[in-house]
């Protein structure tokens, strides 16, 4: 951290300070049509986009030390074997309750922690194993936006110094061009470029978040880890920042790993979403499959807990699935399926076997023994053939099935059909067409 201020940012002549607002208060507000034109609809999925980041079996186990003899007495299984892909120029959402490991995942990808196990392939390099020195050039391409715009900006540095730091550290532009680049960046995120010599305390929460975004953009990253970027902001400001993030994605083709607990915001920003629970991904799918055809009871409970303005306004209130209790401790997670202690449909098999993350549709994977749409959970475990739970031991057929629907990072062209209990294949659909839920497909094998 450079404590002193960059020289060319100091003592620069500038006029009397203008008020720190994005919009000049004297200017009339935009007309509604202009305002609408500057916004975005929900981001669309590009199924052909190659992955910019492939995470495979990522684990982070924090040692738990005893207070006196500094001995490791246990492990916090913060992230315990997750795999996903972030498409180039696209977004993957990561949702879950607090303590599910979603923020740790973001910190692993930016290598604020070194993972215990697993690989994170980015541009042909494994972020999980590179050394600090090798990581430095990669940091240009992988940047992060933090949740709290108050603690993530150094209060003693001017905005100009904050945004200039990455430019100087990575020597992106010659020293005499830093200032103009900083001003350009401030303008991109909708701040007044003349405010570069102000301190963070002179800005509101939404403006501070824009400063954090400008800092992350300074290096023109290919991947941006956004850890709850809007949850600390007021509702009206949230929408401003979400629209800004969508603008930037369109303009610069940045891929987002969007970590949030607000399912509605994630739905708007991310065409693909992964749901985490206690360090595991329990369901990952495209928007349509996850929000309209969720197959995991935890996803269904999360969705039913979200207050729904428009539903309530027209009178219909959905029945809520009440999850009792709190998330169990990741130090000693439940055996088998980790959700079973709070699951409304848990059975005895759930305590014995951990359900594998099985692909059940063209872009839909779920980890549940009784996966099914809300109210249509099967009576028999759908995974019994995969696990050879009929008592006959694992047959060759089961082994073949497991091999075929093996939990690879991306999506395979064939998947395990829940209705027919067989592997079906289908050409991957191109375009934003909604996939047919697995249960309704005719078996092809």
């Amino acid at each position: 951290m450079s404590a002193q201020e960059p020289e060319d940012l100091e003592g620069t002549e500038f006029g009397p300070p203008a008020p720190a607002t994005v919009v000049d208060p004297a200017a009339p507000p935009p007309e509604f049509e202009e305002l609408v034109a500057s916004t975005h609809t929900a981001a669309q999925l590009d199924p052909t986009a190659p992955p910019v980041l492939s995470v495979r079996d990522l684990k982070m186990h924090f040692p738990l030390k005893s207070p006196l003899v500094r001995r490791t007495v246990g492990l916090v299984l913060a992230v315990d074997g997750i795999s996903f892909e972030v498409p180039a120029g696209g977004s993957l959402g990561l949702v879950g309750e607090s303590g599910c490991g979603k923020s740790t995942t973001g910190q692993l990808i930016t290598r604020l922690y070194k993972p215990t196990h697993g690989s994170m392939m980015f541009e042909g390099q494994d972020l999980a194993t590179v050394s600090r020195k090798q990581m430095k050039p990669l940091r240009r391409d992988v940047q992060m936006i933090f949740q709290d715009p108050y603690s993530s900006l150094n209060p003693r540095h001017t905005v100009g110094a904050i945004v200039a730091t990455p430019l100087r550290t990575h020597k992106v532009v010659p020293n005499n061009q830093v200032l103009s680049r900083v001003q350009e960046l401030l303008e991109v995120v909708g701040l007044n470029p003349e405010h570069y010599n102000r301190y963070p305390n002179e800005f509101s929460g939404g403006q501070r978040q824009r400063i954090g975004i400008a800092r992350a953009l300074a290096l023109q990253p290919k991947l941006l880890v956004a850890d709850e970027p809007v949850s600390a902001l007021d509702v009206s400001i949230q929408a401003q920042v979400v629209n800004l993030l969508q603008d930037l994605q369109k303009e610069f083709g940045i891929a987002y790993l969007f970590i949030a607990h607000d399912l509605a915001i994630v739905r708007h920003v991310c065409p693909e979403v992964a749901v985490m629970y206690l360090g595991k991904i329990v369901e990952i799918a495209d928007r349509e499959s996850l929000y309209e055809h969720a197959h995991h009871p935890y996803t269904q409970a999360l969705l039913s807990a979200v207050p729904d303005v428009k539903q309530a306004a027209i009178g219909g209130r959905r029945e809520r699935i009440r999850l009792t209790g709190d998330v169990p401790s990741p130090i000693n997670p439940p055996s088998g399926c980790r959700f079973r202690t709070r699951c409304p449909i848990a059975q005895e098999i759930c305590a014995r076997h951990e359900p594998p993350l099985v692909q059940i549709g063209p872009r839909h994977k779920v980890a549940c023994h009784f996966a099914g749409e809300l109210g249509h959970h099967p009576a028999q475990p759908v995974t019994s053939r995969l696990l050879a739970e009929d008592g006959a031991g694992r047959s060759d057929e089961a082994a073949r099935l497991v091999a075929e629907v093996a939990t690879d990072v991306g999506y395979a062209d064939s998947w395990f059909d829940l209705g027919s209990q067989t592997v079906v294949s289908g050409a991957r659909k191109v375009g934003g067409e909604s996939p047919v839920p697995g249960g309704n497909l005719p078996p092809e094998t």
């Binding site: 507000p29 916004t39 609809t41 929900a42 509702v235 400001i237 401003q240 309530a312």
Partner: protein
């Protein structure tokens, strides 16, 4: 209810439980006078829930704290009238306020960790609240009452947890303990200031369900302060939208959410995405920032951010403050806006962008 009768002395049957009339709160500061709340009026009936919505700094918390007389009379200038069950709070002496607080009216705060004492056992804090208003009760009775309340709000093993400290509770449990503390004296008015904002969605749903169950059981009036329209949509009977210290729209919840007439309410509705919305729905922010309450803008407070200001002829929005008056949809729905025909603007311009699916429904409904 008996406590309420004995405390207020007045007949609680006539008139609303809480009547706030022309409340104005100003804070003199080194920078000038902060106009925190200006001429705010609302009522809450027994058994009903009022949701107060607005951004930070809109005066929603300040007005509710005034209801419990929590402002320092030396630093706050309060005018107007607040009557809880017929009893005036503004200008009341400390003895009266102490009798009302925690007994007739109680408050639940947003940050349960900060609101609970870190060095006192949960049970001790609960029984303290009980003993203050029941001086004849013994400590043993108070403890039994504390365990009973913890059990009622759904804390597992209340006999054991009653001796825990607040840091031993999870976020959701702390909020439950605070609700238990608020309800221990059966208050008829409960003010919940952002009770679920710091919580996960699943826990938020639990707490909202609990509040609704308890309200039904005790038939109390609830004021729910939140910035989340979703929460309001689920639990409130009436909604008051606040902006810059003033009420800008006030009416029954469903009416306000389906036929909002004030552009600020439109902005709030269009800033939040919906989990089941049409993917073609847009997220339309409100431009700019909330106004400074040191020097509120002339005319309509919202005009510097309003995207519909062009639709009002002349300089009306910039010069004349609109009154909070009934709109075209009847006397129950008050709005503070100059727009001549808000309903058609909402249906033809705003709704198709934020909820294309609902706009079609509305169209079909009108034709049919």
């Amino acid at each position: 209810m008996t406590t309420l009768m004995s405390a207020s002395g007045a007949a609680a049957g006539d008139g609303p439980l809480l009547a706030v009339d022309n409340l104005t709160v100003r804070f003199p500061t080194a920078d000038g006078l902060v106009h925190a709340v200006t001429e705010l009026s609302y009522t809450v009936e027994l058994g009903k829930t009022l949701g107060i919505v607005g951004e930070s700094g809109s005066g929603k918390s300040v007005s509710s704290m005034a209801v419990l007389g929590l402002h320092d009379s030396r630093t706050a200038r309060i005018a107007g009238s607040i009557r809880i069950a017929g009893e005036e709070v503004v200008g009341a002496d400390q003895g009266t306020l102490r009798r009302i607080r925690g007994n007739v009216a109680a408050m639940i705060f947003q940050d349960a960790l900060a609101a609970l004492h870190p060095f006192k056992r949960i049970g001790k804090q609960l029984s303290e609240a009980y003993l203050v208003h029941h001086p004849q009760a013994t400590k043993r009775e108070a403890r039994r009452r504390a365990i009973q309340m913890l059990d009622r709000v759904g804390i597992p093993q209340p006999e054991r947890r009653v001796d825990d400290f607040s840091h031993q509770f999870s976020g959701g449990m702390r909020q439950r303990a605070m609700i238990a503390m608020g309800l221990i004296n059966d208050p008829s008015l409960l003010i919940a200031d952002e009770p679920t904002t710091a919580l996960d969605v699943t826990v938020q749903a639990q707490i909202l369900d609990l509040l609704q169950d308890l309200q039904r059981e005790f038939n109390s009036g609830v004021v729910l302060i939140t910035h989340d329209l979703g929460v309001v949509a689920e639990v409130a009977d009436d909604v008051l939208v606040m902006y810059g210290g003033r009420g800008v729209e006030y009416g029954p919840c469903r009416e306000i959410l389906t036929h909002p007439e004030m552009p600020y309410t439109w902005g709030l509705l269009s800033s939040v995405p919906d989990v089941h919305a049409d993917p073609n729905a847009r997220l339309i922010p409100i431009t700019g920032n909330p106004p400074s309450l040191l020097d509120p803008p002339a005319g309509c407070l919202f005009h510097p951010r309003c995207a519909h200001v062009h639709k009002v002829s002349g300089d009306l929005c910039r010069t004349v403050l609109p009154e909070l008056v009934p709109g075209p949809r009847g006397s129950g729905h008050l709005k503070r806006c100059h727009l001549p025909d808000p309903e058609s603007i909402y249906e033809s311009e705003v709704l198709p962008e934020i909820a294309p699916d609902l706009a079609e429904v509305a169209d079909v409904g009108r034709e049919g």
